[in-house]
Amino acid sequence: MHAFLAAEGPSAAIQAGGWFLENVWIIPAIMACSFAIILFFGKRMPKGGSEIGIAAVLACFVLSLLTGAQWISEVNRADNCVAVEISEGKYECESHEGAGEQASAFGEVLGAAEEESEGAYGAGLKAVVSERTWWSNGGVNFTIGTMADGLTVTLLAVVTLVSSLVHIYSTDYVAGDRRFTHYFAFLSLFTAAMLFFVTSANTLQMIVGWELVGVCSFALIGHWWEDQANSDAALKAFLTNRVGDMGLLIGMIVLFFASGETWSIIDINKLAIDHTTSHTLLLISALCLLTAVMSKSGQFFLHTWLPDAMAGPTPVSALIHAATMVVAGIYLVARLYGVFFEGLSIAGSSINALALIGGITTLVGASLAFVQDDIKKVLAYSTISQLGYMALALGVGAWTAAIFHLFTHAFFKALLFLGAGSVSHAVHSFNMKTDMGGMRKFMPTTYKTFLIGSIALAGLPPLAGFWSKDEILVGTGGWGFFEGKPHSNGAYTVMLIMGMITAAMTAAYMTRVIYLTFYGEFRGGHHDDDHGHADAHDAHHGDPHESGPRILWPLRILAFLAVTVGFLNLPPGFLGLPKGLTERFGHYVEPSSAAKYFPKINHADPSWSLAIFSTIVVLSAVAAAYWYYFVKVNRQSPAATELVNGPTSRSSVLKAGHTLLKNRYYLDHIYDSGKPVPAVGAGIVASLFGLAAGSALGFTLDNGLNQAFLPSLTWGLSLGTVVFGIVGLALSTGVGVASFVKKPLAWATNWTHENLLDATVDQVGVRSVQAAEAVYKHIDQGVIDTAVNSAGAGSSGAGGELRRLASGKVQQYGTIMFAGATLLAGLMIIII
């Protein structure tokens, strides 16, 4: 008994406290005020309101750090004491001496187990929740409030830091823009909304925050709305997200009722974990929420909005579409992990919907990143791929790894985006093939920082990406097949393979980007106006030049972080480091299961062999791509971007593959074709998804649950995932193999994307508008209106006929009168 408890960490949790943790609402509030001030007074300020935004966000950053520090100290306090029950369900930290004694007593009994877990002695820590009544309905009060724990403070730090850097960067990047003030106002609003979202104490607030970040994203993607392409992209983003929101609404509503009418994140998790909530309901809500995650975090097949969202200014892409907003989905899963963990039965399984979708996404994203000419699009697909990685990690139970990856990714991806922005600032274009090349000569700092970001992204040790990626791969538990020593939540071998392939592809495409951008010969200089809309900066034509300090310093800071943050979560036992230095991130961030709102999850053992293997895979991918670009292409001509006589021109299969990828699996064709249609199309697809979920929900939930149905649903789902898994495996293997040869089957992927998915959604959209028109014309105006109008016309016509009765002939009147009298009298005589 004791041994078990010890292995699982502390058995009881004490309440954390502290001013910063309790008053974390101040942080989003500052940004909201900043928004209001910039909106109303920004134009009249010397710097167009940007100074307000920067001041506010820096203040928030400081506050976030203080909050984080307070949390860490609270964790430390809990570590050093033992929770003693002072009343039913309430624990407090026992004074140090007593606690120490007890702890050592535990220690003696437990022996070996102590090494496994931090919490051999010590207490768990409960999140700090402060709430207030928000609204009441049906006699029930609903609260608004904040919840602060490790996850919250992590996100606070990430959001405020990246946001600060982006603010600073933007002052240069969008300088001179006609909507400069408006831009900063929305940055503030976005930051406020995102902070509101991550500090939410209940799911209702999460919905609010979720939608608000979506609308900011809409406004910022469409920042240059004069171009229809931009507003189309904004619309597409918003509507695709709206589709997911449908799942979010339904999922949250199901959760609300399933958990006995509460929105509280903690209560929902608690009830899910102790199996009070019906498993079916959990499954349904998890699936519905998954739709939301798919749209917001760009998971396959609702990811197509994300590359289009690159129409927005680059700092926005860095902040919203790489570091923060797009991870909202990941955060949602992490926050409601009890629901997902139990609902999707993550423990002890080898496949589930979340992991599978994450896996597919990561492959799709990586393969598509291969064929992009636009540097931002490469990064966008890379983001999709990395988000898939995080989803995959959450799906396999590697919670800490996922959040850690979120953390590291935020820095290096922001760095890459900002770097790309810096380059484009110089060349007024994002097209690597036509306008870049050899940039390292012109922009040494940008080059260096970009290179660091790329290495971190590729996952080479010892940069940040390596550590987080490695933890995810470990967390799949799949390596256990080979080592036979699983200590994970399940045996997700398929996911491991997918992750590994992605790692290889990531390394390869980043190598390609580095070559195309920074090596070879500068291909730009023939600047024409339709590029570079991104920069109001009207430029010194001629040779590109290095960007200014307000752009470079954020790059430097992020580069530094991209190198170092990985060390925050060294694997336990790494190089014999003491426990106090390893797994710091996990220790402080992962909620204690003793706090009852986080499931008991296992932590897979780190594996040297896996780390080495993955490093080798990455290095070989780099080598292959290096050989292709730096050697073969460069040899052909320093200005060349591809081999004239490359594999795609030689093999028709590869050619087809390339086309496929070029067309992004044709997904967008489905979603897009006719302007407002994309939204609708996506809407319909999503609604189909939602309907499926809904109908399952409808007949499963109504009154008693059909017991026989439950296992069959689970089975069906598992079967489905397995089939998907196999297909995915085959596909990804093929893609992976091909990627070493050259831009291999990437084409195939893009073909599916563009021709199948995109075209389908597109068609759905077009058809639905046609349907709308048909309904309007034929039913509304045709049937209903006509019926009403013709009733009018009919009575009027009857009036016309009746007029003829009054012929003007007096005797005819008499006849009618007499006939009427006779009929009436006859009738009365007969019936009576």
Partner: protein, 517 residues
Amino acid sequence: MISLVSFVGLFAEAFNRPPIDWHALAPEITLLVVGALVTLLDVVLLEKGRAITPAIAGLGLLAVLVPIVTLAVDGVASNPRMAFGGSEVYVVDGYSLVLKALFIIIAYLVVLMSTNYIAEGDYWESEYYGMLLSSVLGMLVMASARDLITVFVALELLSIPAYLLATWRKRDLKSNEAGLKYYLNGVFASALMLYGMSLLFGVSGSTILVEINAAIGEAAASTAIISLGIVLVIVGFAFKVSAVPFHLWAPDTYEGSPTPITAFLAVGAKAAGFVALMNLIFVGFWSRSDVYSPALWILAALTMTIGNLTALRQNNLIRLMAYSGVAQAGFMLAALTVAGESAEIAQTSASAVVTYLIIYAAMNLGAFAIILAVTRRTASAEVAAFDGLFQWAPALAVLMTVFLVSLAGIPPLGGWYAKFSVFTALLEANVWWAYVLAGLAAINTVIAFGYYGRLASRMWFEKAPDSLDTTSLRVPFALQAAIAITAVATIAFGVYPAAVTHFSDIDVPAAAAALVP
């Protein structure tokens, strides 16, 4: 064979004059005197009488209100008076008193409307008012008549002058035709009615309505003859109230007659017809609801629907008003259909009809008054003549809208309460066919707005024809007064219906009340 004894007895009885209640007869006598005076003035003063006759007629009418008021103060409502001895032949009760007052006020308004119209024509004036007053006298008598003979005499007394008034503009072909049609149809209808009366007399052996009721209520009586008799009598008055299919004369006559007379026919004569119907139904036929309910149901349904539908397609405003009046009559008939269900419902039903009559009088006379005022300028009663009225005579347009909307039954103008009380009566009966009729009435309300609304919208939404002189219009004082009185009444009745119900919530005519179990 009639024996000598009985002959002597008869004579003795005939000469045994019953005590006459002069107070109860005072309104009729006053009116008679005024009428005679006006006619005499005509003979004596000839053309010189022109200036004063309208005034005398008007003041005389108001004078009639004096005995009516004294009777009311006397407590007639709770304590009915029999004018001739104890027999229920001529009864003055609350019900008849209210109606008498209504007739007098209607007549007064018609006089106001006539003053300028007649004075500006080139016909003999005093005759006009004399005939008008004698027709009104017939109406007063009708309100109290509880005997077939009296009903008949009252009917003829009110009709014959009306025939002549319709033909007033004797050199105008249309006026001739209007009168002739009215006359021929009217005489034919009263002939049919008389035939029915003779049958009822044969069955019951009495002309007194109370006794008829008692006699035909017994099972022994021949049902077929009773049915025929009742139906024919109802037909006679259905003609008077212009119920479908006995309504065809109305539009033609209305169109051809002088407009004030049209108003008089549309309101006064119609009200008199209803009063007669009510007397007959509540006093004479009450026990035979199996006959009159279905008959009235059919008439009501046809009248509402056909009246409304035909009105939809009228281009002449007077004809439109005629058909609208037909439809309105249908509503009143609808309230009468449930009269026989029970004593309480008879009560509601009678109140509903009286309420309706009062409100209808106000709004319909008002509409006619405005038509009179407008046609002074446009000289045309075509609907198109009202196009853009709002531009050049906004006050008239607004008031016309008030009347039209009230006729359509939209709150808060009087008409809604009239319709409402009909619905109340129908629904209180709580029988399926009454619900059906109520539903039909509801639909008819909507159809009716089709033409009232169209007319209103033409006044507001259209442009006045270019040819029209659109300088502001001077309305003669008498006409102004008529419009003001009717408008105030229409609005007041709608906003504060108690103003009507205070009068219209009468007891059922005394005889039927006595029968109430």
